[in-house]
């Protein structure tokens, strides 16, 4: 899977997370901003990384602005951003979904 464009999913509303994905060459690099970073930062990064790898992305720059999202929301927003970045939203990978 190849990143073709920079793409965003999610909002800055409370309990949401905004994920921006762009091209990278150094594995999955995550820049996380979160009010619960101390307590849940590792868990949030783990969910993003696992979701991207499952989608077949090994290299990506991720800017994540979290407003207290639960894991299911983080996964959904990451997937949406990944589909948009790889321009595959018309043919979603049902295995991953």
């Amino acid at each position: 899977m190849e990143i073709k464009t920079t793409a965003v999913a999610g909002t800055l509303e409370s309990s949401d997370i905004q994920i921006m994905i762009s091209k990278g060459s150094n594995g999955i690099e995550i820049d996380l901003e979160s009010e619960v970073k101390k307590a849940y930062g590792d868990q949030i990064e783990k969910v993003i990384t696992e979701t991207l790898k499952k989608y077949g992305l090994e290299n990506a720059k991720v800017k994540a602005t979290d407003k207290g999202a639960l894991d299911c929301v983080i996964k959904a927003r990451t997937l949406a951003a990944a589909q948009r970045a790889t321009e595959t939203q018309d043919k979603p990978d049902l295995e991953v979904l």
């Binding site: 309990s15 009010e35 619960v36 101390k38 307590a39 849940y40 590792d42 868990q43 207290g68 639960l70």
Partner: protein
Amino acid sequence: MENKVKRELPDDLMNKMDLKPFETTEIGHPEVKRVAPKVRVTTGQDKVVASLDDVIKNNLKDGMTISFHHHFRNGDYIFNMVMDKIIAMGYKDLTLAPSSLTGVMNDKVIEAIKKGVITNITSSGMRGSLGDFVSHGGLKNPVIFRSHGNRARSIEEGEIKIDVAFLGVPVSDPAGNANGQDGDAVFGSLGYALMDAQYANKVVLLTDNIVDYPNTPASIKQDQVDYVVKVDKVGDPDKIGSGATRFTKDPKELKIAQMVNQVIVNSPYYKQGFSFQTGSGGAALAVTRYLRQSMIKDGITASFALGGITKPTTDLLEEGLVRKVMDVQDFDKGAAQSMANNKNQQEIDASWYADPHNKGAVVNNLDVSILSALQIDTNFNVNVMTGSDGVIRGAVGGHQDAAAGAKMTIITAPLVRGRNATVVPSVETIVTPGSSIDVLVTERGIAINPARKDLIDAFKNVPGLNILDIHDLQKTAEKQVGVPKPLEYTDRTVALVEYRDGTIIDAIKEVKD
């Protein structure tokens, strides 16, 4: 050393400051001795002075204790006005002992700490940039957090010895007869400031409204006042309280409020002449509204409502559903204005309200109190002081006092806030011990303190009241948000939380970033 609620307290500080660990919520019948202020005798003919600088210069020395009240809330002009002068005059090592600190004071306190002007603080609470600053080790000596009742006790017993009290009022006469009910910047009850007026060695009133002698009603009386300083403006009326209190539309808060009402009306205390205290949060205000409907339907009236007062409560007074309002503080404009018009809205001072060491405070006459929580743990211990990141962002307020006094104390809290669980295995900071908490109401159901078998019996057959074990509520929350990584603190103590009797219930450590 460890106290009775299993919190590790710093031995060095406890010994150095001669403090005792918390043991019990039972106050018993100790004999205590009160202190008296020094009085500089005058006939009171020349109290009105133009120069605040002169008043400070002639009365304040390095190392002294100064106090303020927080009745102007975020509309306060007095604190920054006085502190600017004290900082400019180069004072050192002052102890700041206000009734509480509001957001508008934060930056000035930080400036004063950085310049060595303030080296000790005792307060009900602190929030925002100041809480952040203290939690990151900005103040060398630990802050002492005290409830409103405990502050009254500490002043009476000399643990807080106020040298100079700077008290802003919206009206005074030239002799110092003052209240919070007339003028531009009215806030209603002067409850917390009355302690300072009675016990400070020097009492300085600051007002933008000097009226003809004698001014009544006189909440602060001329025999207590040393100076009356005329200033341009004491406060911003629009920021003292929220204007009209709005009814929450949040379905979660409404559901909680409905359940709280169910708990109240099905409790053994709901009968003719019962009494209650509610806070100012969205759910608490909604409770007042549901309770009103129930009282009308059941033909029940309350003898009194207590505490920080809001307009929904004074509306009940006007409707005759509540016979008296015992008012230590007003949270909004409606409640503040109502005080001037309603003789059944009685101003009470902090000692009368909640002091554990007197001959009976109003909280002890209370049937039901409804309080909030940042966190509550499976032992029912409540935290209203530190956030889930360990940073100071709250206040003890009257929480410990109302919980201890009321026959039934209800905590209202959503199960989670964002990704933070509210019901947790162990709270970051214990403010109110679980032994004084009876019922927790969340949107998922209620939990009853196992010690209250009578309440479990009273509620078990009420339709719509889902009674759960508090451990199950905690697990439900954890399942939703996950297990947080434990917070990291340094060894340094940045604040100590007193229980209302002056013993130490918890220590707050410097957060590690």
